[in-house]
């Protein structure tokens, strides 16, 4: 039982990282119907920013987690630049072009990082010094709880933001009908840029959560993490914000459970198998809306 609770906590921890990353995918997909493959690499950018800034912060006498705010700014900058330079010109050229541009940008960021930072894995210094919490016979590291709490808070804030603010409403209106939203005075281009900014900011938070839990970062971090988060987004129904959260958390729990209770080397295969099965039963994901074709 203790093992189960421990694994569940680990699963939720990993799941909330996936969920925050999947949110970035899903928001961008929801608004411009494009899989932003570079999103995983924004997390890598955030990770390297933390790696270089934490020592600087400590030297300046500031708490280490101050670096997160800088990382958010850097990630938002990179995200918005990617959108402005690469994605905006190909918008309206069809999904194939958008997909390849996104893959290309992912390659640009990944190889840019390779040139700048090298290929060796780096260890990000710890940002938080939290005591472990003991529940019965189970001890859960403080960082795990912190990651979970941050993850849940971020998701709640985002849900409230999208549901109740003017900007959030505009973000929901644009994918419904672009022309109609222009007519009611929504600046579609601005909304798309803001969506990218929010997605990239979430990526920075995700990179903070990732580095506190897993420490080591590499220039290839984006591909592995990004692909998993993408799977989570599709599992939950791509384009759906609650879907991304549920998909991410489910994926994290499944991965850890398979790792602990089944063959440890095969957890990735099991994840993908579950994805295929879910898609075959519910072709638009768990929470996705079924779109009926009009003849």
């Amino acid at each position: 039982m203790a093992k189960f609770i421990q694994s569940l906590a680990n699963g939720l921890n990993l799941g909330s990282i996936y969920a925050l990353t999947a949110l970035g995918y899903t928001m961008v997909y929801g608004i411009i119907r494009m899989i932003n493959f570079a999103h995983g690499d924004f997390i890598m950018v955030g990770g390297f920013t933390l790696f270089y800034l934490i020592p600087v912060m400590l030297k300046m006498g500031l708490p280490a987690w101050f670096a997160v705010f800088v990382a958010i700014i850097v990630c938002v900058f990179v995200g918005v630049m990617t959108e402005q330079i690469a994605y905006k010109p190909v918008r309206g050229q069809g999904s194939t072009t958008a997909l390849i541009t996104a893959l290309g940008m992912s390659l640009v960021l990944e190889n840019g990082a390779l040139v700048l930072f090298g290929s060796a894995p780096r260890n990000v210094p710890p940002m938080f010094n939290l005591p472990a919490v003991a529940i019965g016979s189970v001890t859960i590291p403080g960082t795990t709880i912190l990651t979970l709490v941050i993850g849940i808070v971020m998701m709640l804030l985002l849900t409230l933001f999208i549901k109740y603010t003017k900007l959030g409403r505009a973000m929901r209106a644009v994918p419904e009908d672009k022309i109609a939203s222009t007519l009611v005075g929504i600046n579609v281009n601005k909304i798309i840029t803001i969506t990218f900014a929010i997605g990239s900011g979430l990526a920075a938070v995700a990179s903070m959560m990732y580095t506190t839990s897993y420490v080591s970062i590499k220039n290839e971090l984006g591909i592995t993490l990004g692909l998993k988060a993408f799977v989570a987004a599709v599992l939950g129904g791509i384009g759906s914000v609650p879907g991304a959260m549920i998909g991410g958390l489910l994926l994290g729990i499944i991965e850890i459970m398979v790792k602990v209770y089944m063959l440890p080397g095969t957890y990735e295969a099991v994840t993908y198998l579950i994805l295929i099965l879910v898609l075959l039963v519910r072709p638009s994901g768990l929470m996705g809306k079924k779109v009926n074709e009009k003849v």
């Binding site: 493959f37 190909v90 940008m105 295929i276």
Partner: protein, 341 residues
């Protein structure tokens, strides 16, 4: 009209033979000296890239669906053919051409069968969802290959995380002929009844179904054929490189294939034929021509990809086919009119 077609076929056959002779001239006479092996490698890699990129173009260009898991089908072809040829060459000594043919056959059929099995359920989906299922299949194949081994049965080679000691039978003469045959079959498929049905499905699935095309059958058939040729490419790769590592066939490889299809022009086989050898060799050539750029080669490659997408989103050929007979016709006509004046 048939006379003109005959002439066109003749021109193409001559072009193929000239290409073959040109390669022989380059490598068999030893003009290149020490660099021969290096360029030979680039050419063989370019040729199996051509096969797999064309097979992917069948899906992307003519069926209108993405696959980001073609490296998975390639790895099935590579491993299946490598296991069989290793088992055979442990027992009997066969001439390399026979071994090569067995490898190609086994690799293609194995990948084709898996493609068929995946295709039946997966083709209920479309668009991004199908795309992610192909990613999932390729990743499952990769994980299975890296975790489970069949040791014992292969005497001289070890199967598992990596597979070494495969017979090196992918000679560029054979590979060239294989490539031509593969492209010919794919070209015929597109021009056939099925190919036209396929294009109809791409343009409007519902209208195609309404006019009596069996959408599922056509899609599954195309998916199977595409996987089949990916397996061919895998078999060639395995018997050229002689050591297989499951991590080679990862997501990046699949996305590289898709990128080449789009850069060459989705829906243009000739575009793929031109783009595949160039782009597969480009990172190598960058570091070969300007050694100082060696560490930037992948970055340059990625930037070229994005820039091309921004300025020429339809790719090099943009859905049109390049035709050698037509080009010749153009030139001869020009000369003829010039002569009159």
């Amino acid at each position: 009209m048939p006379k003109k077609m005959k002439k066109n076929y003749l021109i193409c056959i001559i072009a193929v033979i000239v290409g073959f002779l040109l390669l022989s001239l380059l490598f068999d006479t030893g003009i290149l000296g020490k660099k021969s092996a290096y360029f030979n490698g680039l050419v063989v890699i370019g040729m199996f890239y051509t096969i797999i990129v064309c097979s992917l173009n069948l899906l992307t260009g003519y069926m209108g669906e993405f696959s980001l898991g073609h490296a998975g089908f390639m790895s099935i072809g590579a491993y299946a053919s490598a296991i069989v040829t290793t088992l055979i060459s442990d027992q009997v000594k066969l001439p390399s051409i026979v071994l090569y043919l067995i490898a190609i056959l086994v690799g293609s059929v194995a990948a084709g069968i898996i493609g068929f099995l995946v295709g039946i359920p997966a083709l209920r989906l479309s668009g991004d969802y199908l795309c992610i299922v192909t990613v999932a299949v390729a990743e499952i194949v990769r994980v299975v290959l890296s975790n489970f081994g069949i040791p014992a049965i292969t005497g001289s080679a070890t199967f598992g995380k990596s597979f070494a000691g495969i017979a090196k039978v992918s000679d560029y003469h054979y590979v060239y002929i294989t490539m031509v045959v593969c492209i010919f079959i794919m070209y015929c498929y597109i021009r056939s009844r099925y190919g036209r049905a396929l294009i109809a499905i791409r343009e409007d699935r519902i209208a195609a179904a309404a006019s009596g095309i069996n959408v599922t059958k056509t899609k599954v058939l195309t998916f199977t054929i595409s996987a089949f040729f990916a397996g061919t490419a895998g078999a060639i790769y395995a018997h050229y490189i002689t050591t297989l590592v499951p991590t080679y066939f990862n997501f990046s490889k699949s996305s590289e294939f898709l990128a080449i299809v789009i850069l060459g022009g989705s829906g243009s086989l000739t575009g793929s034929i031109v783009a595949a050898p160039i782009l597969s060799a480009l990172p190598q050539l960058i570091s070969y021509v300007v050694p100082a750029f060696a560490s930037y080669r992948m970055l340059i490659y990625a930037i070229i990809l994005v820039v091309v997408m921004i300025f020429k989103p339809t790719g090099l050929f943009g859905g049109r086919e390049f035709s050698l007979p037509k080009l010749l016709e153009k030139f001869t006509k020009k000369k003829a009119t010039e002569g009159k004046e």
